[in-house]
C-alpha cells in the first residue's frame, strides 16, 4: 500500500467553468507542481481566447463572421476543425460541429483542450518519483493519471441528474478519462444535429475512455441518441459507459456491449 499521500488542489475559473487540478504527492510539497498547474491554466485561457464563441474577437468568432480564413487562424483551429470532421464521420453525424452551417467547435474544444493541456503540462509530473498521481476535472469532465506501481485508483462519482449533489454511480480508474454530458445542469443545451432540436432522449450519458476528447464526444452522442438507442456503443472506442434516462432508467455498457439489467440483477443496487 502507498503510504499517506499529500494532495494539492488548485482551482481556476476558465472557459466559463471551474477547473480543479488535484496532484497527489509523497512529500508535502513537490517542486514543479504549482508551476505545471499554473501553466495548464494559462494554456486553457489562451485556448479560450482563440476558440470562445462568447468573445467577438476570438479566432473562431472572426472565422464565423468570415473575417478570417482557416489558414490564417491560429493553427490549433485547423487542428480542431479536422478532429471535428473526424468525429462527425465516426459518430455518423450524431456529433457535429457545424450545425446550421456555421462552424462551432465548442462541443469539442473543452474535452480536447483539457486533455491536451493535461498531457502537455501535468503528464511530465509523473516523471518525478515524488508525484503519485494527478487529475484535472473541468466542469465534470476529467483526465487522470497514476504513477506505475502505485496501488491506488481515482474514485470518480457520477452525478445523479435527478438529485443534485448526489451520485448515481461510481467508477474507479488509474489512467484515462471520464466525461458526462446531459441536461441536468444547463438544461437542454445539446442539439441533435439530425433535427436541430434539443436532445431530450437522455438526461445523462457518461463515457470512460483513454482520451477525454474521445470520451467527451461520445458522451454527447449518448445524449443525442437517447437512452433507447445504444447502437452507437459498438462504434465507440470508450471502455465503458452509462446512460440515464427519464425516471432514472439506467443502461450500462462495457467495451461496446450493453451489460443488461434484469430482474434480480446483482448490478442493480436500488437507492
Amino acid at each position: 500500500m502507498s503510504a499517506e499521500l499529500h494532495r494539492t488542489v488548485r482551482v481556476a475559473d476558465v472557459m466559463g467553468m471551474v477547473i480543479s487540478v488535484h496532484v497527489l504527492t509523497h512529500a508535502p510539497t513537490v517542486a514543479g507542481v504549482d508551476d505545471a498547474t499554473a501553466d495548464a491554466f494559462a494554456e486553457l485561457r489562451d485556448i479560450d481566447r482563440v476558440f470562445s464563441t462568447y468573445r467577438s474577437d476570438s479566432d473562431v468568432s472572426r472565422l464565423r463572421r468570415g473575417e478570417l480564413t482557416l489558414a490564417a487562424a491560429d493553427p490549433r483551429v485547423a487542428e480542431v476543425a479536422r478532429a471535428c470532421e473526424e468525429a462527425e464521420a465516426v459518430t455518423r453525424g450524431l456529433f457535429s460541429a457545424r450545425f446550421g452551417g456555421a462552424f462551432d467547435p465548442t462541443g469539442y474544444v473543452k474535452g480536447w483542450a483539457v486533455e491536451s493541456v493535461a498531457r502537455g503540462h501535468l503528464g511530465a509530473l509523473l516523471e518525478n518519483a515524488d508525484v503519485a498521481a494527478w487529475a484535472i476535472n473541468a466542469g465534470g469532465d476529467m483526465q487522470v493519471a497514476t504513477a506505475a506501481g502505485l496501488d491506488r485508483d481515482w474514485r470518480v462519482g457520477i452525478a445523479d441528474p435527478a438529485r443534485p449533489g448526489q451520485l448515481a454511480a461510481v467508477v474507479e480508474l488509474r489512467d484515462g478519462a471520464v466525461a458526462t454530458s446531459g441536461t441536468a445542469e444547463r438544461g437542454a443545451h445539446i442539439l441533435d444535429p439530425r433535427t436541430g432540436r434539443a436532445a431530450l432522449g437522455a438526461t445523462s450519458s457518461t463515457v470512460v475512455a483513454d482520451s477525454l476528447a474521445v470520451a467527451d464526444v461520445w458522451a454527447t452522442v449518448g445524449v443525442v441518441a437517447g437512452i433507447d438507442d445504444l447502437g452507437w456503443i459498438r462504434e465507440c472506442p470508450g471502455r465503458s459507459g452509462m446512460v440515464i434516462g427519464a425516471g432514472g432508467r439506467t443502461r450500462r455498457w462495457v467495451s461496446g456491449v450493453e451489460v443488461a439489467a434484469a430482474a434480480g440483477d446483482p448490478f442493480r443496487v436500488s437507492a
Binding site: V170, R174, R186, S240
Partner: protein, 182 residues
Amino acid sequence: MKKIVWAILVTVSGVVLLFSYRTSLGAGTTVASSTTGFSGSIGGSTGSGTSSSTTSGSAAAATPSASATASASTGSSSSSSSSGTSTSTGLKNGTFTGSAASTRFGDVQVAITVSGGKITNVAVPQYPNNNGRDVEIANYSLPQLISETLSAQSANIDMVSGATYTSEGYLQSLQSAIDQAK
C-alpha cells in the same frame, strides 16, 4: 505489472481484434462463464463447458481488421487494478452475462467476472462464427464497469463527473465540497 498491452475495447473492432489474437492466447482458452446469480434475458449460449477449441483459421479476422485499426485508440493503460479493496462499489462477486448485442459481424455477448468489487475478467462467450467458442481476455486491460451506488456515497470520492456545471453551479457542486475538503 505490465498486464496491459492492448487497449481493450471490445467494440466490434475490439472483438475483431480478439479474433486476430486468438492464436496468441495459446491453446488453453479457458471458459469464463460460470454464470452465477444472473437470471434474465440472456440471449445466446452461455456455455459453461470447457470448449477448448483450438485455433481455426483467421479468415474471419482478415476482412474486418481494417476497421479494427481504424477505431482502435492507442493503448494507454487502463483500469484493471489488482488491489484488493473491498466492495464499496456495489458490485457483487460472481460472473454476469450481458444480453447479446447484434453487431454487423454477428451477435456479441460479454460476461464479466467480479471479485472483490472489481472486474477480474471479461469474456466473450458468444461472438460471430457461432461456434460457441469462448475467449478469455483477462490478459488485456479490463474495462471498468460503472457501478451504481447507494445514495450520496460521497465518501472517498476524488472527483465528480456530471453534466457541465457553470462557474456559478460549481459553488453548489459536490466537486466544490471535495476540493475544499481534501
